[in-house]
C-alpha cells in the first residue's frame, strides 16, 4: 500500500538524483575546454516497483552515476588516420627541406647553384674550346666550370648528409617519448582493471585515449581490447608494445651508422618506417628519400667524372702529353666506386694546359678530343641517359614524390578533420546542450520540491487530524 511516507521518500530520492545529475552537468561545463575530456551523461534508473496486494506502486528514480559518451571504433579510426597524417606530415617537412636544394632556375640568367645549368656550362666550355683549342682563357674556363659543377654537386651532397644526420638525431629522441606513453597506458590499464573492469572508466579512459592519441602522432599502432577493459598495443606490423600492465620498452642502437629501433632483440626499424606516425615519416625520409637523392647525385658525379677523365686521358694536351697510368691527366678527382662520388667530387687539375683538346697523336691545334668531350653531353653515359636528361628526370621524380606526399598529407589531414568532427560531435561538450539539460533538471528539481512541500502539507493535515494550527 502506498503511503505518504513512501511518497515523501520517492521525492527525496528524486531531489538527490536531480542534484547528482546537475553535478554531472556542472562537471561537463567545467571541462568544456579540457583537451581529451569526454562528455558525460547522467544514468537514470527507475527503482523496482513495489507490488502490494496485486497493486504496483512506482518507487521513483535513482541516479547511478555518469557515462562518458565515446565511440571506441571512431576513436580508433581517428588514431589510425592521425598516424598516417603524422607520417606524411613529417616526411613532407623533410622532403621540403630536401627539394629546397634543387630550386628550379627561373631563367637562363639566374642559374647560380643550379646543378642542371652547371652540367650544361661545363660541357659547353668544351664547345667553346673547339673554336680555339690553344686558347688559354677557354681552357681556364673549362676548369672553372668544372669547379663550379663539382662544387655544387659536392655541396648538395654535403647538405643531404647533414639533413640525414639531423633526422637521425631527431628520430633517436622518439623512443623515450614512446616509452613514457606506453608506460603511462600500462599503468592506466591496471587502474582501469581494478576500478572498472566491466564498464567505461570515465576519466581514466579519457586519459588513456589521450595517451593513445599522442602515441599515434609518434608511431603506427594497432589497438586490441583485452579482458577487464584492458588494452594491448602492437606496432602496425604486429610487434607487441604493451599488454595489460606491462609495456615493452622501445630501445635504440646504432646499426650501420644510423639509429635503429629494437623491441627486445628484434630490429623493427623498417616496420616502424612503413608503420606511420611522425617517426614513420622521418624514418622514410632518412632511409629512403635522402639516400635516393644522394645515390642519384653519386651516379651523376661518378659517370661525369669518369667519362670526362677517361676522355681527357685519351687525347693529347697542350704540352703534347698524353695521360698515362702513372701520370694521368684527370680533370676531376678520380673515383672507383659510385658511393660517395658526389661529396668527394672536386677538380684536381690545376694547369689548364693539361686539358687534352687534341686527339691522340695530333698537333695541339687539333680539337677532335674537345669535340669528343663535348659529345659526352649527348651520350647516354649516366644510367642509359644523357647527363642533363638524368638530372631532369631526377628533379621530376623528386618533385613528383614531394607533390605526391603533399597531396596524400592534405587528404589525410582532411580525413582527420572529418573524423575529429565526428568524434567531437559525439564526445565534445556543447554548452547549449548543457544549458538546456540544466534547465530541465532545474525544473525537475523544482517540481520535486513542490511535490515534497505538498506532501508535507498533506502530512501536516493528517498529523493535526483537522486541527490546522498544531503542526504546519
Amino acid at each position: 500500500m502506498g503511503t505518504i511516507n513512501s511518497a515523501l521518500s520517492v521525492m527525496t530520492q528524486t531531489l538527490d538524483a536531480n542534484q547528482e545529475a546537475l553535478n554531472v552537468m556542472a562537471n561537463n561545463v567545467a571541462n568544456a575546454n579540457t583537451t581529451g575530456y569526454t562528455r558525460e551523461t547522467p544514468n537514470w534508473q527507475e527503482n523496482p516497483p513495489l507490488t502490494i496486494n496485486g497493486v504496483t506502486y512506482g518507487q521513483g528514480v535513482t541516479e547511478t552515476g555518469a557515462t562518458s559518451q565515446r565511440d571506441r571504433v571512431l576513436d580508433s579510426r581517428l588514431d589510425q588516420q592521425q598516424q598516417l597524417a603524422a607520417s606524411t606530415g613529417s616526411r613532407l617537412t623533410a622532403l621540403n627541406t630536401l627539394q629546397a636544394l634543387f630550386t628550379p632556375a627561373s631563367s637562363s640568367t639566374s642559374t647560380a647553384g643550379n646543378i642542371g645549368s652547371d652540367i650544361t656550362s661545363f660541357y659547353n666550355s668544351f664547345q667553346s674550346l673547339e673554336a680555339q683549342p690553344t686558347n688559354n682563357a677557354l681552357r681556364q674556363s673549362v676548369l672553372s666550370t668544372a669547379g663550379t659543377l663539382a662544387g655544387d654537386i659536392s655541396n648538395a651532397a654535403a647538405s643531404l648528409n647533414a639533413q640525414h644526420s639531423a633526422l637521425d638525431q631527431q628520430v633517436g629522441g622518439v623512443a623515450s617519448q614512446v616509452n613514457a606513453l606506453t608506460g603511462a597506458i600500462a599503468q592506466l590499464n591496471q587502474q582501469i582493471k581494478t576500478t572498472s573492469p566491466n564498464g567505461d572508466a570515465g576519466t581514466l579512459e579519457d586519459q588513456r585515449q589521450q595517451d593513445l592519441s599522442q602515441l599515434s602522432q609518434l608511431i603506427g599502432i594497432n589497438q586490441i581490447t583485452t579482458e577487464s577493459n584492458g588494452l594491448a598495443i602492437t606496432t602496425t606490423s604486429g610487434q607487441l608494445l604493451l599488454s595489460g600492465g606491462t609495456s615493452i620498452p622501445l630501445t635504440t642502437g646504432t646499426v650501420n651508422g644510423v639509429t635503429d629501433f629494437f623491441l627486445g632483440t628484434t630490429d623493427v626499424t623498417s616496420q616502424l618506417a612503413s608503420g606511420g606516425g611522425s617517426l614513420g615519416g622521418n624514418l622514410t625520409a632518412r632511409d629512403q628519400d635522402i639516400p635516393n637523392a644522394i645515390s642519384s647525385l653519386n651516379q651523376l658525379a661518378y659517370n661525369i667524372s669518369t667519362t670526362v677523365n677517361t676522355q681527357n686521358n685519351a687525347g693529347t694536351d697542350y704540352d703534347g702529353k698524353t695521360g698515362t697510368v702513372a701520370n694521368p691527366l684527370n680533370i676531376f678527382s678520380p673515383t672507383t666506386t659510385v658511393a660517395g662520388s658526389a661529396i668527394s667530387m672536386s677538380v684536381v687539375m690545376t694547369d689548364p694546359n693539361q686539358i687534352a683538346a687534341a686527339a691522340l697523336g695530333s698537333g695541339t691545334g687539333d680539337n677532335s678530343n674537345a669535340i669528343a668531350m663535348y659529345n659526352l653531353s649527348n651520350q647516354t653515359i649516366v644510367n642509359g641517359q644523357t647527363p642533363i636528361n638524368y638530372y631532369s628526370n631526377f628533379v621530376t621524380t623528386l618533385g613528383a614524390t614531394v607533390s605526391g606526399v603533399q597531396t596524400e598529407n592534405t587528404a589525410q589531414n582532411a580525413s582527420v578533420t572529418q573524423l575529429q568532427t565526428q568524434s567531437n560531435a559525439l564526445s565534445g561538450v556543447n554548452l547549449n546542450d548543457e544549458a538546456s539539460s540544466m534547465s530541465t533538471l532545474e525544473r525537475s528539481f523544482e517540481a520535486a520540491s513542490k511535490v515534497f512541500s505538498i506532501l508535507n502539507t498533506i502530512m501536516a493535515g493528517i498529523l493535526n487530524l483537522g486541527e490546522e494550527t498544531t503542526v504546519t
Binding site: 568544456a32 621540403n96 627539394q99 628550379p104 632556375a105 627561373s106 631563367s107 637562363s108 642559374t111 643550379n114 642542371g116 645549368s117 652540367i119 650544361t120 659547353n124 664547345q127 667553346s128 673547339e130 673554336a131 680555339q132 683549342p133 690553344t134 686558347n135 687534341a358 695530333s362 698537333g363 695541339t364 691545334g365 687539333d366 680539337n367 677532335s368 669535340i371 663535348y374 642533363i388 636528361n389 638530372y391 631532369s392 628526370n393 628533379v395 621530376t396 621524380t397 623528386l398 618533385g399 613528383a400 614531394v402 607533390s403 603533399q406 575529429q420 565526428q422 567531437n424 560531435a425 565534445g428 561538450v429 556543447n430 554548452l431 547549449n432 546542450d433 544549458a435 540544466m438 534547465s439
Partner: protein
Amino acid sequence: MRVDPFYVTNMVSSLDQAQANQQQLTAELSSGVSINSLSDNPVGAGQNVLLLNQIQQDDTFTTTSSLVTGQLQVADSALGSVVSQLTTAISLATGANNGTMNESNVKSIGNQISGILNEVTSLANTNYQGQYIFAGGQASTAPFTTSTATSPAVTSYNGDQDVNYLESPNGQKIQLNVSGSQIFLGSGSNSVFGALNALIADYSSGTVNTAQAVSDTQALGTALNYVSQQRVTIDNSINQISASSGAVTSVQTQLTTAQTNLMQASYATVSTQLSLSETQQTALISVIAQLNNSQRDLFSKL
C-alpha cells in the same frame, strides 16, 4: 543530430589555410615565377632543366660561332691577299717572258717575285690569336719555311693535315680550317710555292729560258686557281656558320619564350586567385567574429 561544438577551431584552420594560400600567391606575384619549388610542378621543373640546357647550348654556340667566324674571315682575307699577290706575280712573269727585257730588268722582276714569295709565305703563316691558321693541328708553330740551299729554293710545310670541325647543336659538322699544304703545296702544278720558287730561279741569272719560264708561269696560274678553289671551302664554312648561328638564334628565341611561359606566373590568374582567397578570408573572419559573440549560447538566456 549533435554537431561538433568546436567548429570555430575548424574555421580557424580554414583561415590559416587561406592565409598560407595567399602567402604562396603573393610570393608568385612578387617573384613573377610560378614554379618556386620542384613540387609546384614536377614535370615543369624537369622540362625547365632541359629547356635551359638547350638555351645555354645555343647561347654558347652563338658565342663560339662569332669567335670561329673571326678566324675564318682572317683565313679568307689572307687567301684573298694571296690571290692578288699571285696575280701580280703572274703579270710580272708574263712581262719578263716576252723577251723584251734586259738582264737587270729580269733580275729585278725575279727580286719582285721573291718579295711576293715572302709576302705569300707570311700570309700562309697567318696567326690568329696565337694560332697559325694554316698549320693544321700544329697551330703553335709557323707552318712554312723556305730553304735557299738549293736552286730553285724549297718551301717546306711543318704543319700537318689535321682538320678541325665545329659541331652545331643539331650535330652538323662545320669545317674550320684547310691545311696549309693543301692550299699552298698542292701536288704537281698546283703548288704555289713550287711555282713561285721555280720562277725566282728562272729569273735569278737575268737570262730567261723562255720555254721553262712560260711553263712555270702557267703552273703559277694553275696554282692560283687551285688556291681560289680552296678558298671556297673557307667561304662555305663562313656561310654555314652564319646560317647555323641564325637558325640557332631563332630556335633560342622560341625556347626562351617557351621557358618563360613555363616558369612565369600568369598575373591575371594569380591575381584572381588572390582576390578569391582574400574574399574567403574576409568571410571567415566575419563569421568567426559573429560566432565569438557572447550572446551565442543558451546560458546567456537563462
